[in-house]
C-alpha cells in the first residue's frame, strides 16, 4: 500500500510495511503495486497514475493547491509588488488597500512576506523530498534485494534511526550550527528523516523479489545492479511518489518548527521565520494576529496539499479504502454488517 501517512505500523518482519507520520494506515493488507506488477514500464504506470489522479477528488484538490504554490514560489514578483524585507512602511498597520494583510512591527508588508516566503519552503520541501526518497530507495531496495547480512545491518540502522527522537536531535544539531540556512536544513532533515520511507520501500521490494519478471531477468543473466535499477524501481513508482510526498510533508513541518524556535536563518523570509519574529514581537498582544495566522495557514494548506495527494494515492493503490458508494435499498451504513441487496437494473432480453 502506498500508505506512508500513518505512524509506522506492522512488525519488523517486513511484509507489512511501516508508515510515516501524519496519515493513513499501515499496510496490513499487503502492497498493491504500481502497474499491477509484471514488466509494466514506468511510463505506463505514470499514465495510469495520471488517470487515477484526475478521477479522485482528493488528488485533484491536492494537485491544484500544489501547482498554485509552485507558481507563487516561481513568480513571487508577479503577485506581490513590495520588497518583503524592506522596513519602510508604517509599523503595525491593519489590512488596508495598500497592504492587503497589513504590516509587521518592523514595517514590512505582510502580504509580500507571505508570497516571497513560499519559495524557501518549497525548496526545502522538494529538496528533502527528493534527497530523502533517493536515500530511502537505495537503502530499502538494496536491503531487500541483497538480503542476508546486508539486509540485517541496514535494517538495524534504519530501525535505530526510526526510534531516536528526531526533533530533539535536529534541535541539537541546529544549535551546534548556530542556525541553518536552506541548504543545510535540507541536508540535515534529509539525513535524519529517510528511515520511515526506507522501511516501506524495503517491504515492497521484498514482496517483488520473487516475482516472475525478476526471475526472468536473472535467468537472462542480468547483473544485480541492472535488475535493481531497470526492473524493480520503475515498478515501485507509486510507492516512490508516495514516499516523496511524505518526506516533503515532513520537511515542511519540521523546517518551519525549527525556524519557529529560531534555528533557521533569520535573514531568509520564510513562513517559519515569520512566525518566529511574530511570536518574539508579541503579535497577538499588539493586535497583529494576521502575522501569526496567515503564515500558519499557508503551512497548513501546503501540508494539506501533500497529505491529500498522499491519501489519494493510498486509495488508488488500495481500493478497499475508497468511499463506499451507497447503493439503493438498505445498504449504506450497515454495509459492513449486512449482505447488500440492490435493485437490479432490467436487462434487455434478446428474443430471436
Amino acid at each position: 500500500m502506498a500508505t506512508l501517512q500513518t505512524p509506522p505500523g506492522a512488525s519488523e518482519a517486513g511484509a507489512g510495511a511501516g508508515a510515516a507520520p501524519g496519515g493513513t494506515a499501515p499496510a496490513a493488507a499487503g502492497l498493491p503495486l504500481a502497474g499491477g506488477g509484471g514488466s509494466i514500464s514506468g511510463a505506463r504506470s505514470l499514465r495510469r497514475m495520471g488517470r487515477a489522479i484526475t478521477a479522485n477528488r482528493k488528488a485533484t484538490a491536492g494537485t491544484v493547491l500544489l501547482v498554485l504554490f509552485i507558481f507563487v514560489a516561481l513568480f513571487p514578483g508577479l503577485i506581490a509588488h513590495d520588497d518583503p524585507q524592506a522596513q519602510i512602511y508604517p509599523r503595525g498597520l491593519t489590512p488596508n488597500a495598500q497592504h492587503w494583510l497589513g504590516t509587521t512591527s518592523f514595517g514590512q508588508d505582510l502580504f509580500a512576506q507571505v508570497i516571497y516566503g513560499t519559495r524557501p519552503v518549497l525548496l526545502i520541501a522538494f529538496g528533502v523530498g527528493l534527497l530523502a526518497t533517493v536515500v530511502a530507495m537505495l537503502i530499502g531496495v538494496a536491503a531487500a534485494y541483497l538480503g542476508g547480512g546486508w539486509d540485517g545491518t541496514l535494517n538495524v540502522i534504519t530501525d535505530v534511526l526510526l526510534v531516536i527522537p528526531l526533533f530533539p536531535l535536529l534541535i541539537i544539531i541546529g544549535s551546534y550550527l548556530h542556525g541553518a540556512g536552506t541548504a543545510v536544513m535540507i541536508a540535515v532533515i534529509a539525513a535524519t528523516g529517510w528511515s520511515y520511507t526506507a522501511r516501506q520501500l524495503r517491504a515492497q521490494a521484498l514482496s517483488l523479489r520473487n516475482r516472475d519478471f525478476l526471475n526472468a531477468a536473472k535467468v537472462r543473466g542480468e547483473r544485480r545492479l541492472y535488475v535493481i535499477c531497470v526492473e524493480i524501481i520503475p515498478t515501485m513508482t507509486s510507492l516512490l511518489v508516495a514516499a516523496f510526498l511524505t518526506n516533503a510533508l515532513y520537511a515542511v513541518l519540521f523546517s518551519s518548527s525549527l525556524q519557529f524556535i529560531g534555528l533557521g536563518d533569520p535573514n531568509v523570509t520564510s513562513w517559519g521565520t515569520m512566525l518566529y519574529w511574530a511570536e518574539n514581537n508579541e503579535a497577538f498582544q499588539t493586535g497583529l494576529p494576521l502575522w501569526i495566522i496567515v503564515p500558519g495557514l499557508c503551512i497548513v494548506t501546503l501540508g494539506a496539499a501533500f497529505a491529500l495527494l498522499n491519501y489519494a494515492f493510498d486509495e488508488i493503490g488500495n481500493p478497499a479504502l475508497r468511499p463506499v458508494r451507497s447503493m439503493r435499498a438498505r445498504t449504506t451504513r450497515l454495509a459492513a454488517v449486512n449482505t447488500p441487496v440492490a435493485r437490479r437494473r432490467p436487462r434487455v432480453k434478446r428474443t430471436d
Binding site: R325, A336, V337, D352
Partner: protein, 341 residues
C-alpha cells in the same frame, strides 16, 4: 463417538411446506462498481432436500463462491443480491439484516471456509471461538460449553486439549478439521463449504472428505460443497452442479453427470482429468478463457470455446432443458422438455 448429539444441540427439523431445506429461485448477484457492474451469478435456481449432498464445480471466476456466500447472506460490498430468493427452512433470507438472521445462523446453517488460517481469528484460542458461537445462541453454562466443545473435537478426531491452542499452533489439517468441528456445534440442517480441501495435500484432502461424509451420514445434515476439483467431489455428492460464467450449465445426479456429461463444458472438464486406471488418452484442455462478466456476449456464454457450437448459440442464450432428470443449458438438447429456468 456418541450417535445422538447432547441435549440442547439437536437439530430442529426442516420447516416449510415442501420439506426442502433450501430453495433457491432465480438468484442473481452483481458486483456494483464505479466502472460498471459485473454479473457474477445469473438467475440460479435449485432445491436441496434434507441430508442431500450437492457439489458445485466450475472454473475460477464462474461464480460458485459468490453463489455460496449469497445463499448464506455473507456478501460484502460491492457485491449485492439483485434478484431472486433464498428460502431456507421455509423463510426467505434475502434482505434480512444480520440481526434477523442471527437466530438461524450456525444453529441451522453453518459455513466452512477455504483456509482455516484465514477463517479462524488468529488472536483467540480455538476453544474461545467455539465458546463465543455458543454464547451468541443462548448457551451460557460453562460446563455445557466445555462438554460440547470437547465433543465436536472428538468427532473430527482431535484431542480436546487443543481447545487451548491458537490457530497458528495447529497443523493445516487439524485447523481445517477444527473448523469443521466448529460448524458441527449445533448440528445444523445445512453446512455450506467453500473449497475446504483446496489448501491441503492430496492425502489430507481425501481423509477430510471421508470424515465429512461420515459426519454427514451420522448427523444427517445437508451439504453444499463448492470446489474446482470435480473428481474429488464426485465420489461423495448426490447431485452435481456445473457452473459456467455465472449460470448453471448442467445439474443432475452425480453419477449421471460424471459418467455421461451432456454439456460440452462438462465434457471438457471431465476429459481434463485423466483416469488413473483407464487407457491412456491425450489430455485435452478447453481452449480459450472464461467470459468477461463485465460485458457478457449475447448467446451462450460457452459459445466462444465450444467445440460443438452452432450458429444459434452465438445469438440466443440457451435455457435449461431437462434430459432424463438432468438439467442442461445447451441447444444440443433442445427439443427436450424445458427445465425450470
Amino acid at each position: 463417538m456418541s450417535s445422538a448429539p447432547t441435549e440442547g444441540f439437536q437439530r430442529s427439523g426442516p420447516a416449510g411446506r415442501t420439506g426442502n431445506v433450501l430453495e433457491v429461485r432465480d438468484l442473481s448477484v452483481e458486483y456494483i462498481m464505479e466502472r460498471g457492474t459485473v454479473l457474477a451469478v445469473d438467475e440460479v435456481s435449485f432445491d436441496l432436500a434434507p441430508g442431500e449432498f450437492i457439489g458445485i464445480v466450475g472454473e475460477s471466476g464462474c461464480g460458485k463462491s459468490t453463489l455460496l456466500f449469497a445463499i448464506a447472506q455473507l456478501l460484502t460490498p460491492p457485491a449485492a443480491i439483485t434478484g431472486g430468493s433464498v428460502t431456507f427452512l421455509g423463510r426467505n433470507m434475502v434482505g434480512l439484516t444480520d440481526r434477523e438472521l442471527a437466530a438461524v445462523r450456525w444453529k441451522d446453517l453453518s459455513v466452512v471456509m477455504q483456509s482455516a488460517m484465514n477463517a479462524l481469528n488468529p488472536v483467540k484460542s480455538i476453544g474461545s471461538q467455539f465458546d463465543d458461537a455458543m454464547r451468541a445462541h443462548g448457551v451460557t453454562s460453562k460446563v455445557q460449553i466445555a462438554e460440547r466443545s470437547a465433543e465436536v473435537l472428538r468427532m473430527v478426531g482431535i484431542d480436546p486439549i487443543h481447545l487451548k491452542s491458537y490457530p497458528h499452533q495447529l497443523s493445516g489439517g487439524m485447523r481445517q478439521r477444527s473448523m469443521i468441528a466448529m460448524a458441527m456445534l449445533f448440528t445444523p440442517d445445512l453446512v455450506i463449504m467453500d473449497e475446504p480441501t483446496s489448501a491441503l495435500d492430496v492425502v489430507a484432502q481425501r481423509s477430510l472428505m471421508v470424515q465429512i461424509k461420515e459426519l454427514q451420514e451420522e448427523l444427517g445434515f445437508a451439504i453444499i460443497f463448492v470446489t474446482h476439483d470435480m473428481s474429488l467431489v464426485s465420489h461423495f455428492s448426490d447431485r452435481l452442479m456445473v457452473m459456467y460464467g455465472g449460470v448453471v450449465a448442467e445439474f443432475g445426479a452425480t453419477r449421471r453427470v460424471f459418467d455421461t456429461p451432456l454439456h460440452p463444458y462438462s465434457v471438457g472438464l471431465l476429459e481434463a482429468f485423466p483416469s488413473i486406471r483407464g487407457p491412456r488418452v491425450p489430455l485435452t484442455g478447453i481452449p480459450g478463457s472464461p467470459p468477461n462478466l463485465a460485458s457478457i456476449p449475447p448467446g451462450c456464454r460457452f459459445a466462444p470455446r465450444c467445440p460443438k457450437v452452432m450458429a444459434r448459440c452465438e445469438v440466443e442464450p440457451p435455457p435449461l432443458y431437462e434430459v432424463d432428470g438432468t438439467l442442461v443449458r445447451c441447444f444440443l438438447h433442445a427439443g427436450e422438455e424445458r427445465g425450470n429456468d
